[in-house]
Symmetry: C2
Amino acid sequence: MPENTQISAECRKFLLEEARTGKLATVRADGRPHIAPIWFDLEGNTIVFNTGTDSVKARNIRHDKRVSFCVDDEKPPFSFAIIDGTAELVDDQEHLLAWATRLAGRYMGQARAAEYGKRNAVPGELIVRITPTKIRFAKDIAN
Amino acid sequence: MPENTQISAECRKFLLEEARTGKLATVRADGRPHIAPIWFDLEGNTIVFNTGTDSVKARNIRHDKRVSFCVDDEKPPFSFAIIDGTAELVDDQEHLLAWATRLAGRYMGQARAAEYGKRNAVPGELIVRITPTKIRFAKDIAN
């Protein structure tokens, strides 16, 4: 059976309905896992976020592009999406400010989007795109 | 400088003040990261949760006990704790029901603790304890 690689309409709704943070797991060169919360948005079937070129996330992805990403509803009855995928680091200064502003608007509110977009679109920041290789979406699991 | 391995009073308060879920990152035998949301509680300086003996989490920990754990506040101004540690799988049927009930009370509410504790304390369930090796706590990062 082929793995589920397309974000379903129901999963997309869950990922976007509130500005929940994503949690990204990557693997360090010494084999240890690393986890960090991220601001993300979707573009088509890819997950997009920003990070610094020297962040642990970026260094790990440069070493091994395989990542695991999670968004969950922390309240009963609990739901979660777990998306395994491959991450691509994109050094695109032209689109960086637009993405940083879009993400800031989603998480800080539109009134502060420009301020926080500018704060996050500094030299050395990268755009990261995750292409799903396996998607699991579980809704209302404690029901 | 020695790594910070003790959960501070401020970090403990953050981890316990609301029943936020933890996100646990482990590494699969093939080197890919795995992430999953978990119900957790603290006992002294250790993070405690339950999982099935055949879960991906348990299989990964059996293979490599190095884990990374994250709890975050998803709303502005955003805070997070990232705790790297080593995980120990404990097959302790005597204490399993007590732990499952305690965790269920924390996340489902005391009125449903017994019901969900029983539901989760089934044969094959393990207690997992994470001993921190490095703790990072960042409060109100968007201020």
